[in-house]
Symmetry: C2
Subunit: 331 residues, 2 copies
């Protein structure tokens, strides 16, 4: 069974994907896989993954064989499935939708021990350009409304395999947080006539207190209401609703500021686990182009969400973003 | 510094509480405290906590001395502070509020090795009656708009001390999830003329597929759009907006169904860590009495939230709630 279900009280869709687990989980996820365990993402083990949908390869090398720097493969245990009609069904007070979507894994390097941020800027650019390319494919599928690119680095950040990788899930609904951002930024635009992200970026660059770093095209900043200690957003300075419309130059500047940010965090906090998430406009909704502004959110994992966060949707952050930004600027 | 800050894009308040950490966290929270470490919650160590605000004591015993079965003490590192005026300030596009509120710890037993659900129903009732009593105190404070009772059981669920305890945070804003539930249930009432929770409970009791257990006054059910595997909601069958108005009989029935639910989960899943959260109407808002319905949400911690959940506000659940409920019914 793979389907999306809507909570009848709050507008929250959940993916119910029974095939992901061969059987119900019975205990907390096992600790990180031992060094000597077989890794399906390593060079020479290409046959252990589903066939690649895209790869950056040495000239003349063959698909699903060695000779690559980056591979994109379908997730072996996908949360959503690519085939089938998108059907929406109602059963009394409950809404559901067929579990249509794509779930892909981006293997960022053939080297098991290489972390993404330690790769050259060229390779990090390659990753983000590949994400752009996949988004441009997904947006042509009329069943798909948005895609989420994300990276879980380290076991405590949710990575089940330690070999550096990230993921894309393309979905038939607009995700909850994106929906809230779209609504909030639309309201702001109606009231102030401008993009709230552009206004934040301009104000923050002027005051400087929450700026971590800048380059010509991007800013890295600690958001005013940071949920997590050392949370950092990476945003293009120029108004841009859709990540997948980024130029090569913009992607390269993103790769540079990402590498710089992770370097600062690693130096200051001893290479913590982290989550990285892309927030970008939904597909086929040109009406949000005036008020939405894509960005990436980077969150070191230093604690864990518990009852208060899950129960109240409320966060307690013990490091004021001004202090976090100052420490990261100096790192 | 203790203040609440509002995200200028989405309506999300965050507590920035720099005093909670003596210094910035630098690594992932340390593993659970060793058995032989001093425990401030044990009998005879009463002087290690701030003075108790309430306790269930043997007749004749003195405050902050042995002879108790349950103690309520202020959190030693409170996220919010009880003193001071509630001020709301605006600075350009940013809103903030003084960090006024209460943060209390409920020490559920003097015995270091006793888990809450293993206590007799009388003691579990005592805990919930104490929560009711604290809520009735907090609601008299005009600065406070809602309170969150929650329990983190086990290190992976966010507990920093292993001695059984729970917490209450009383806040000057309505928490985000509660706000969403209020809005959603209000919309439902306007459309259908009834309480969405009452309708869910009635439908679920009739079909039975997602029912875990029942007693005269309460139902334990796996919600249709469960975010987490084996997520279970405990709800009064009779429409009741405010937990703190519960009768003694209702609280006892809650204690019974809670103990029963944890017993089933422990048997089926090997005593996993869990989070327990109370969802109840905000204080001083009688207008929500018709559409809001208090309940508790119980979530075993079997995995961890990662980029997709934080990035998209989206959950993937690999155990359909019908299967979860069936397995728990049979446990």
């Amino acid at each position: 069974m793979r389907e999306l279900r809507r909570d009848p009280i709050v507008d929250r869709w959940v993916i119910i994907s029974a095939q992901r687990a061969q059987r119900p989980m019975t205990r907390f996820v096992e600790k990180v896989i031992a060094e000597d365990t077989f890794c399906p993402f390593c060079e020479n083990n290409e046959s252990s993954t589903p066939p690649e949908v895209l790869a950056l390869r040495d000239h003349g090398s063959r698909p699903d064989r060695p000779g690559w720097s980056l591979r994109v493969v379908p997730n072996k245990f996908p949360a959503l499935k690519a085939e089938g009609e998108l059907e929406r069904m109602k059963n009394g007070i409950y809404d559901r939708m067929s579990g249509v979507g794509m779930h892909e894994v981006l293997i960022e390097t053939p080297d098991h021990d290489q972390a993404l941020a330690a790769l050259p800027v060229d390779n990090i650019s390659d990753l983000f350009m590949t994400v752009r390319s996949r988004f441009n494919v997904f947006k042509e599928d009329s069943r798909i409304r948005c895609a989420q690119f994300f990276k879980n680095h380290g076991h405590e950040a949710g990575a089940s395999l330690e070999h550096s990788h990230s993921q894309i899930i393309a979905m038939p609904v607009v995700s909850r947080l994106l929906g809230e951002e779209l609504a909030g930024s639309k309201t702001y635009r109606a009231k102030h006539g401008s993009c709230v992200y552009c206004d934040i970026i301009r104000d923050e660059v002027v005051t400087g207190d929450r700026i971590v770093s800048e380059n010509d095209l991007f800013v890295a900043l600690a958001p005013y209401a940071s949920r997590f200690a050392y949370e950092t957003w990476l945003a293009p300075k120029k108004h841009s609703p859709m990540f997948e419309s980024s130029t090569d130059g913009s992607i390269r500047a993103l790769a540079e500021i990402f590498k710089d940010t992770v370097g600062r965090v690693d130096y200051l906090l001893g290479s913590p686990p982290y989550n990285l998430m892309l927030h970008t406009a939904p597909f086929g909704e040109p009406s949000c182009a005036g008020h939405y502004h894509w960005h990436m959110e980077f969150m070191p994992v230093l604690g864990q969400a518990a009852g208060f966060e899950w129960g109240a949707g409320f966060h307690i952050n013990s490091v004021p973003p001004e202090e976090a930004a100052k420490a990261l600027r100096q790192a």
